[in-house]
Structures are given as C-alpha cells and as structure tokens.
C-alpha cells in the first residue's frame, strides 16, 4: 500500500490538535489532505492559523457543511458536539477517527456521571473502538470508527495496564503535570500569560473526566483509581506520576518482566530507568513532538509503593499522533508511518 494516497478530511482544523494532525499528515506518504474545516477561519490558508506549516500546503479552511466525501475523516471538535453530527460524519467517510471524548466511553451512564449530560447517540457507542493500539490493536484493524483517547488518560493507562494485568493492585494515585496546550486553543483569564505563567495549579483535584477512561480501560474498581492533574510551566507535555499500591510481595524484576512482556515490541513505548546521567526517568521535554510514551519506575523498598512515571507529548501520543497511529493500523500500514520523529535535545 506504499503508493496509495487516502483522501483525508479534518473537521475542526484550527485548534492545536487540528494543527498537529496537519503537521503529521502533510508529511505522511499515504495521506492527501483534501479538506480542513473551520467556521471561524473559512477561506483562510491553514498556515495563517498554523504558521509552522508555511510553505507546506496551500489548502484553505472551508465551512463544515461544504465537507466533501473523503476516505478518512478526523474530527477535532469540542466535546459534546460530535455526537450531534455523527450520522453526517460517518456518511461522509469510509472511516472516522474522533478526537473528542464523545465516543470513548462504552457506558451511556458514564457520560451522565462524568460529563453531566445524556449521550444523544448511544447506539453508536458500541461501534467506536477505543483508539489505543497497545491495548486494542486487533479491534482497530477492523474498525470503521475509532475514538481517540484523552491525553491524560493515555499518560496513565499505558504505564498502568501491564501492572493491572500482572499484579493485584489495591489503589492507584495518578498525579499528572500537564502543559498548557492540553487546554486547547481557546483562551480565558486562566490562560492569560500573567496568570498562567509560572503556576503549579491544581485544576481538578477530583472528578476529572479522563478518570472514566482509566476506570474503563484498566478494569479496576472505580474507588481504586484516583487522579489529580496540575497545570505546570510547560506548553507541550504530560508527566504522570502513578503511585501504585500492590498487594503481596514483589520485586523490581517482576515489574520489569510485566513491562517487557507487554511492551517489548511496541514501537512507541520506551522503558526509561537509568542509573546514571541527568535524565534517569521519563521526561516530557525529551518526547516533545514525538508519538513516544516513555515509562519508568522505582519501588519504594520501605513501604512497598511502586512509583511509575510516564511522559508523553499531549498533542502527539495524547491526541494527533495516536490518531495517526490508529489510522496506520486501520489501513494496514506500517504503524510508524509518518510518526518516526525523535525528540529534541536540548529543548
């Protein structure tokens, strides 16, 4: 399939995730972007909104209702808005990858619990596959519709899943440090530079919506999973520090074997646990711009607590990169196609 170019549409292309999709797909050998929608920027060249794309494309934003039929549609609209248009989107493309949260959760009741609204298209929920290839690769291969996971959910699920599969875990506490781009391209007083710069802001100590994805994908009892994110002085990046309380005796070799068994052949997961140097554990700035998830750990021999760290770029492995990874899986392409970039150093 090396020469095949699939016609791509991006709905909601003016946000940061849309820009990142454009950046990745413009360099993808099997993708031809034919339509990018934005009501706000209709008629403008996409490079006017995403200046890093200058010279790479002349495509202009169009109105959503002018969206042509395409092979693959990426939807990057605000949460709660895709479900109302899902019939239209699925009729316009052979395959749809939705980057909103509208089809990530399997249970309609979870939308009431976590998103405080009824799901208006519940009949579609069972047909969307949760787009995390490390967990659902075989389902994604056959999927027509994929729900791309949330960024902080990704940063917690990937490091925790092999542990859940290999140990009896009583409690997990995930403390995530999150960059400002995870909040999207719209702005308000909290994102105003004098207010945002320099903060270590606890913005949702309990009840963050991505907790629902962690519960769903990890299969632990709901009371066992605790999540508290913090906004920190980053633009891109998430560092999730997971405090894992394991029942029974274990040692670090057991943890290594759990991770190697699950991820030894995964192209985007790196185990980072060094005994020297200044980057001994995962560091978000080393994965900025990449689709990598770096995972490291250390056992607290005094208490038995296992401390697990995971670093991702929220716009890549936490959004656009993971979406393109799923796109590759869905179309039988090499999974790393278009996603081979490594991080910067220094950065």
């Amino acid at each position: 399939m090396a020469e095949t170019k699939l016609k791509i549409g991006i709905v909601g292309g003016s946000g940061y995730t849309g820009g990142e999709l454009l950046r990745v797909l413009l360099q993808h050998p099997n993708a031809e972007i034919v339509a990018v929608t934005s009501r706000q920027y209709k008629g403008k060249n996409v490079a006017k909104v995403h200046p890093n794309l200058r010279g790479a494309t002349n495509i202009k934003f169009i109105e959503p209702q002018d969206l042509p039929k395409v092979d693959v549609l990426f939807t990057g609209l605000p949460h709660g808005t895709v479900m109302d248009q899902v019939e239209h989107f699925t009729s316009q493309a052979e395959r749809v990858l939705d980057l909103s949260s509208d089809f990530r959760l399997k249970s309609p009741e979870d939308y009431v619990t976590w998103y405080k609204h009824e799901h208006t298209k519940q009949e579609f929920l069972k047909d969307f596959v949760y787009g995390m290839p490390e967990l659902h690769r075989e389902e994604i291969k056959d999927a027509k519709w994929v729900a791309v996971p949330g960024c902080t959910a990704t940063s917690a699920i990937l490091p925790l899943k092999p542990l859940v599969d290999n140990f009896k875990i009583s409690t997990v506490i995930v403390d995530a440090k999150v960059g400002s781009s995870a909040g999207g391209a719209s702005y308000n007083l909290s994102t105003h530079h004098p207010e945002r710069s320099g903060v270590v802001r606890s913005f949702k100590p309990t009840g963050h919506r991505h907790t629902a994805e962690m519960i769903q994908e990890l299969g632990l009892p709901t009371e066992a999973i605790n999540f508290s994110p913090h906004a920190v002085e980053l633009i891109r990046g998430i560092l999730a520090t997971c405090h894992v309380f394991i029942e029974g005796d274990y040692d670090e070799k057991d943890v290594w074997q759990a991770y190697l068994g699950a991820y030894k052949d995964e192209p985007f997961i790196r185990m980072i646990k060094e005994r020297g140097g200044i980057y001994r554990f995962p560091e978000p700035k080393l994965v900025a711009g990449t689709n990598l998830c770096d995972i490291g750990f250390e056992k607290d021999e005094r208490t038995g607590r296992l401390v697990v760290m995971a670093a991702i770029d929220n716009l890549m492995k936490g959004a656009a990169g993971q979406a393109v990874q799923c796109f590759n899986v869905m179309h039988g392409l090499e999974e790393t196609t278009g996603l081979n970039s490594l991080g910067f150093h220094p950065y």
Binding site: D254, Q257, L260, K273, R275, G276
Partner: protein, 54 residues
C-alpha cells in the same frame, strides 16, 4: 546462562567476553560488568555518584 540482575532477563553473552568488559542488557538497557567468565557472571556496572542536592 546469566540473567540480568536488573530485569531478570536471560542474557546472551558471547564466548569471547572478557572479564571487566561492560555489556548492555538487550531488554532493559542497563550496563553490566562481566565479573567472571566460563561461566559468565555479571553485576550492575558501577556508576559515579552524583550530588543531586538532596
């Protein structure tokens, strides 16, 4: 056959390995020092201590 003292994975060590040679575990990338040969035995390679201001 020696196992990695860090991750427990069986190591592939060539017959021509020499004592005090530093090798790397293919699974977890930790550096190992060959402390004996025939049969090979390894330990975690020494690391310089750093002052982390702790």
């Amino acid at each position: 056959m020696a196992n990695c003292p860090e991750c427990g994975t069986a190591l592939e060590i060539g017959d021509d390995v020499m004592a005090h040679e530093i090798i790397e575990c293919n699974a977890c990338s930790v550096e190992l020092e060959v402390v004996a040969t025939n049969p090979a035995q390894v330990e975690l390679a020494p690391e310089e201590e750093e002052d982390w201001g702790e």
